[in-house]
């Protein structure tokens, strides 16, 4: 069992959230992907198996990650590309089965994002409807949320256009507005705050803080140290699938930045 390298220290805003009730327990989590390969791998240490006809390569994305998250915590997840951040988020949400270990949670953690449920040929209006249904709302709730979503996205005059006609910033705003319309007790945000202009970004961060205030736990994956500094009271640093550091933003962010 891999233990956390650093003990959890009190949050930077003075309130010690580690005495709060645990909401997520990640216990020695391992995630492996088996991928069909073509060509030669540059590394020698990857385990290779020969299937029928084609070789498969096992990618060990998470190698025994353990930590406990508490109520009212907003946890930033940092690490270089390919360090396992997104895999950790998906695995906490129960979307990728663990190879070993387990994730326990007080309620089903949800990943902020509805991208995959939306259809680019469909109008913004129908995508809002489809996205809210995909989040598990009843048709009545979905209708009730419609105006809020359109208002938050600031795209009311484009709702009749198919989403493929939107600019990438516009569709990102609509996706974020749909995803954020549902209140989640445990929410994971993967790089969604980097979308839109300055004004929209501020509204998004405000909404994240609101969600956290509703007695929830928020995970935020980001490469922007500023948005982590602004919204999080705890940071975990993943490196090559292992948990390298766990502490307050003031401790972890400088160490992470020094490693670059």
């Amino acid at each position: 069992m891999t233990d956390t390298p650093m003990t959890i220290t009190p949050a930077s805003d003075g309130s010690d959230t580690s005495v709060n009730k645990p909401t997520v327990v990640v216990d020695n989590l391992h995630v492996k992907f088996r991928i069909f390969t073509s060509g030669k791998a540059a590394t020698k240490n990857a385990t290779r198996g020969r299937g029928l006809g084609r070789s498969t390569r096992e990618v060990h994305a998470l190698k025994g990650v353990s930590f406990v998250a508490h109520e009212g915590e907003s946890i930033g997840v940092v690490g270089h590309n390919g360090s396992g951040k997104s895999t950790l988020m998906r695995s906490i949400a129960g979307l990728i089965p663990p190879a070993e270990g387990a994730v326990y949670a007080s309620s089903r953690p949800s990943l902020l994002g509805v991208n995959a449920a939306l259809m680019s040929e469909l109008s913004g209006e129908k995508n809002v409807q489809l996205g809210t249904l995909a989040l598990g709302m009843s048709p009545a709730d979905a209708r009730a949320q419609y105006d809020n979503i359109v208002e938050f996205s600031g795209l009311s005059e484009f709702m009749d256009l198919p989403m493929r006609a939107y600019s990438s910033g516009m569709s990102a705003r609509l996706r974020f507005a749909i995803a954020i319309s549902k209140t989640h007790q445990i929410l994971m945000v993967d790089e969604a705050l980097a979308v839109g202009d300055k004004d929209f970004r501020q509204r998004s961060e405000q909404r994240i803080r609101e969600l956290r205030a509703q007695a929830g736990t928020v995970f935020l994956v980001s490469h922007s140290m500023k948005s982590i500094q602004d919204t999080c009271n705890r940071v975990i640093w993943l490196d090559h699938g292992t948990l390298l550091m766990d502490g307050t933003p003031d401790e972890v962010i400088p160490a992470y930045q020094a490693s670059k």
Partner: protein, 287 residues
């Protein structure tokens, strides 16, 4: 270095394991509560699928019509034979259209998980909604096709009759049957991705053995072939087609035996498919 017993900590605080497969009853209940997502997603796929083509949704009707036209020319004009009934055109068109519902459900059902990995890895919902949504989509596509079928029958010499209404229960039972099949192949493709390559051959084999462009009753005529005919009649796909033909056009009428075969097949396949699909619920998403 202290080692925390995380599992015990989770248990002490009443936390449940994430991603654990719910009991069957709860699973089905949750799937039912989220049915609107499956329905809306099926509807919108049909709406948008042909949105870039000039003729748009008309292609949904045009495609099977063109298929039927090709078979009609090849088997009706170029290779006429005694194994075909007199009213061959309406006979053929019903066969092609009904068979299309089955084969489309199977081939798209096979990729219900593997073709939706983005959805599976970003949102949590009972995965059984994916094959169900795919079969609903095929149903929404087959309804206009079946409506287009009626004037074709009239033109080709089969006047309207009350039996045309029997198409509704036949398609209803067939939807259940197709949904069960889609769940089975949907899970199998997760374990054996190559199955997707094999499925076209399986449907082709069924196409030739289900009597689409010839009558199995005429081919297996005579007492010495009665056993083979019985065997062919146990194929539910053949019976769905025979039922539709029996009620809708002149020729051998629908029999209770056909209803028995399709009814039992639909229930068995749906129950087995649901259990089989649910059993692997935790494994979906790992690719």
């Amino acid at each position: 270095m202290s080692t925390t017993d995380y599992a015990a900590l989770a248990k002490a605080n009443g936390l449940d394991r994430v991603g654990a497969r719910p009991p069957l009853w709860e699973y089905l209940k949750e799937a039912w509560e989220r049915r609107h997502f499956a329905i809306a997603s099926a509807r919108y796929v049909v709406e948008t699928k042909n949105s870039r083509a000039r003729l748009g949704v008309v292609w949904i009707i045009l495609r099977p019509l063109l298929t039927a036209a090709i078979y009609g020319i090849v088997f009706g004009l170029i290779m006429p034979s005694g194994s075909r009934p007199a009213n061959f055109l309406p006979y053929l068109v019903i066969g092609v259209f009904i068979f299309q519902f089955f084969t489309n459900s199977i081939s798209s059902g096979a990729s219900s998980i593997t073709g939706n990995s983005g959805l599976v890895q970003s949102l949590s919902f009972p995965r059984i909604l994916l094959p169900v949504s795919i079969v609903l989509r095929q149903l929404f596509e087959i309804i206009p096709v079946m409506i287009a079928l009626l004037p074709i029958l009239w033109i080709t010499g089969e006047p309207p009759r009350i039996g045309w209404l029997m198409l509704v229960p036949i398609l209803a039972v067939m939807t259940i049957f197709n949904a069960g099949c889609a769940m089975i192949v949907g899970r199998l493709t997760v374990h054996f991705p190559d199955l997707k390559q094999i499925i076209p051959f399986i449907t082709r084999l069924l196409f030739y053995s289900s009597g689409i462009f010839f009558s199995l009753e005429l081919v297996f005529a005579g007492t010495e072939k009665a056993g083979l005919l019985r065997l062919a009649q146990l194929n539910p796909v053949h019976d769905f087609i025979s039922l539709a033909r029996g009620y809708m056009i002149d020729g051998p009428p629908a029999t209770p035996f056909m209803w028995l075969v399709v009814g039992v097949a639909a229930i068995v396949v749906l129950v087995f498919g649901t259990l089989f699909f649910w059993a692997a619920e935790e494994k979906y998403g790992n690719d």
